[in-house]
């Protein structure tokens, strides 16, 4: 494999890792607060449709982004009502919302545009246009690092940089702020948080809404960054890969970055079977690459690579003592 091909693959790794990373961080907030969220997929899909539709109608990707976040937050709020207020089964609620999202996105897109459940193709200001980082042009002549900077690191849409910034921000929020301490505590032992006079319900709602916002970013990037418009089931299981990455990362932000980059790399490789054949000397079937994130996650879950221990109160509705 030559350097140019490697750069191409790294570039698509970054682009494919971003929706996974945003969704993974989204899940991190919710699960750290003790609310399991299988519905990342549905929220991303909803956000992708809202972004695709509103960006096409308004011509502005930023208005579309806001609509995407709104759509995702509505689903997050329903999940919150079902699992926090009514103490329902969080897993079932997530599964249900994924189905609702899968169907309702097509229904809305079809009734708005009548293009077989798709939104019209986006172009120009209705998409996230590439940002050229400073000196990308002038540094591209520098050997090795130059092309890496100008082709892989520079030239992505704004959400890509926001996603990578979200990693240190999440780390800082989680481990260096009062909110983060309380969030982690409420996921481990909500009774102790309640005893300290802090509202478990408010904290968990806050976490679920943050999850909604981040899933909104992930979905918006799918519709207006990675692709140009919404299509039926366009997230194609990315919400579940993000969930897998979250477990792989053992619910920690920096590890989440590495896990999603790894899974993004697999997806990038799956798009270039020719490259694998040339470097490895044999054919790796594409389905094997597709399945690799899931297989790795099962191996991690099996406890062979250190144990993945979820937040202790995860999935348990909190009932105040009377």
């Amino acid at each position: 494999m030559d350097y140019a091909t490697l750069l191409q693959i790294l570039d698509s790794t970054i682009r494919l890792a971003v929706p996974l990373l945003l969704a993974c961080l989204a899940g991190l907030y919710s699960e750290r607060s003790g609310i399991f969220d299988i519905g990342l997929e549905g929220k991303m899909l909803m956000a992708a449709m809202c972004t695709g539709a509103v960006a096409a109608l308004s011509g502005s990707v930023w208005v579309g982004l806001l609509a995407g976040i709104a759509g995702s937050v509505i689903f997050a709020a329903i999940h919150g009502i079902a699992s926090i207020t009514f103490r329902g089964n969080q897993l079932i609620s997530g599964v249900a919302l994924n189905f609702v999202a899968s169907g309702i996105t097509v229904l809305i897109a079809q009734s708005l545009f009548r293009q077989g459940g798709r939104t019209p193709p986006l172009s120009g200001d209705a998409r996230f246009n590439p940002i050229t980082l400073p000196f990308a042009e002038s540094l591209s002549g520098v050997p090795v690092i130059g092309p890496l900077y100008s082709e892989v690191i520079s030239g992505h849409g704004a959400l890509v940089y926001i996603a990578f910034l979200a990693v240190p921000v999440t780390w800082w929020v989680l481990y260096r702020t009062r909110f983060g301490l309380r969030l982690r505590a409420v996921g481990e032992n909500p009774a102790s948080v309640d005893t300290a006079g802090i509202s478990v319900i408010r904290l968990r709602y806050a976490a679920v809404i943050i999850t909604g916002i981040l899933c909104g970013l992930a979905g918006a990037y799918m519709a207006a960054g990675l692709q140009a418009g919404f299509g039926k089931e366009m997230t194609a299981g990315r919400g579940y890969i993000a969930l897998a990455a979250l477990i792989f990362a053992k619910w920690r932000p920096w590890y989440a970055l590495m896990a999603t980059l790894l899974f993004g790399f697999f997806q990038a490789l799956a798009l270039r079977p020719d490259v694998i054949k040339n470097t490895m000397g044999f054919d790796v079937p594409v389905p094997a690459l597709d399945a690799l994130p899931y297989i790795l996650t099962v191996i991690v879950l099996a406890g062979f690579v250190g144990r993945a221990i979820p937040p202790r109160a995860g999935g348990e509705p909190y009932v105040k003592e009377r």
Binding site: G88, A96, F99, G103, L107, K232, A244, V298
Partner: protein
């Protein structure tokens, strides 16, 4: 919270949940500028309006009975098996391998062997998640989701690279021999007086009904069933009573996977006559809705499966004859799962208002 009378819990709660799902679906249809009345009438005529329509409704219902029972058995052991989809697809692989292995002379010989293979392959696909849950404590929901994707990738690989006959373009196995084709209800004597056109519902329906009875027998009339239910109610109590959590988890999941795998005699052997990509077409997931709606009882599962058969067949008709997309049925399915599975406390609270006076009378 008020405790509802048993009949209200068993009958009213699912019905109210269904009603709420229906109301929201109607609002969705209104919001996209279509007529809910037209949708409902298309759905009802298209799914139960004629013997021909029933032929399709019963075909779907057969699949949903198996996957619904699969979720039910696991639920009683407080295990949430989301992997029905993967288990059903792997079951389809087992059925396909059996049907292609021999030039079967008659379906009565092929069916039992195919059933064993489908059940074994389905159970095998549930075995590893069950083992990881029982021994390693990894969450069964997550592992079964992962196994759905791994299973789908495995099937695609096998269909494209191994099982596809030379010269065929689409990823599917060769057609099964004629002797492995199951008779539809149209081919059976007496029943062909009712079903006078070619329909997909086939003899698997009777296997499904038998499976409903067997699951009832297993859960409420055997020692294993008692152990599964006891373990599901309270793990420490079951442990204290000498019930092995490992054994119960493994067996409940194996039975669950076998039931999901059995579904594929309906769609793979009975309908398509060859193994296709994504053969289960979401029936594994609908099993979740069917089990929740059916209150985890075989009779309830039977009724809910017919209801979802209607929804599926009727939804297809809506997609065909009205300008409402076929995806409406996915929305209804999701709403039913949401109301019966996650917002059931809300529904009970709503009903509790009506039952409170009666309760004070009794007290």
């Amino acid at each position: 919270m008020t405790r509802l009378p048993r009949w209200a819990d068993v009958v009213l709660v699912p019905l109210i949940s269904l009603l709420l799902a229906g109301i929201i679906s109607a609002l969705v249809i209104l919001a996209i500028g279509q007529s809910p009345r037209e949708a409902l009438s298309t759905m009802v005529t298209g799914s139960v309006g004629s013997a021909y329509a029933w032929g399709y409704t019963l075909y779907y219902a057969t699949s949903f009975m198996f996957t619904g029972l699969a979720v039910t058995v696991a639920f009683h052991g407080s295990l949430f098996n989301i992997g029905g989809e993967g288990q059903a697809q792997l079951g389809g692989l087992g059925v396909a391998l059996v049907c292609l292995a021999l030039p079967w002379p008659h379906w009565t010989l092929a069916l039992p062997v195919a059933m064993v293979a489908g059940a074994l392959f389905g159970a095998a696909w549930a075995a590893l998640p069950a083992y990881l849950q029982a021994r390693r404590g990894s969450h069964i929901v997550i592992t079964t989701i992962m196994f759905n994707y791994i299973g789908a990738a495995l099937i695609i690989y096998l269909l494209v690279n191994v099982l596809r006959p030379a010269g065929q373009m689409d990823p599917a196995t060769a057609r099964f021999p004629a002797g492995a084709a199951l008779p539809t209800l149209h081919d059976l004597p007496i029943l062909n007086l009712i079903f006078d056109k070619k329909i997909p519902a086939n003899v698997t329906l009777f296997v499904a009904l038998f499976a409903c009875w067997l699951v009832w027998l297993l859960l409420w009339r055997t020692r294993l069933g008692y152990e599964i239910r006891a373990f599901g109610k309270s793990e420490p109590a079951a442990l204290y009573a000498g019930i092995s959590p490992f054994k119960v988890t493994m067996l409940a999941m194996l039975v669950s996977g076998a039931l999901a795998g059995l579904m594929s005699i309906n769609n793979v052997m009975g309908e398509s006559g060859r193994l296709l990509q994504n053969s289960s077409e979401g029936a594994g997931f609908i099993g979740i809705a069917v089990a929740l709606m059916g209150r985890n009882h075989p009779i309830g599962v039977f009724l809910a499966a017919i209801l979802f058969g209607m929804l599926y067949q009727g939804g297809a008709e809506i997609g065909l004859w009205t300008s409402i997309p076929i995806e409406l049925r996915t929305v209804v399915q999701g709403l039913v799962i949401l109301f019966t599975g996650a917002l059931d406390h809300m529904v009970r609270m709503m009903l509790g208002v009506f039952f409170r006076p009666r309760r004070t009378e009794v007290a």
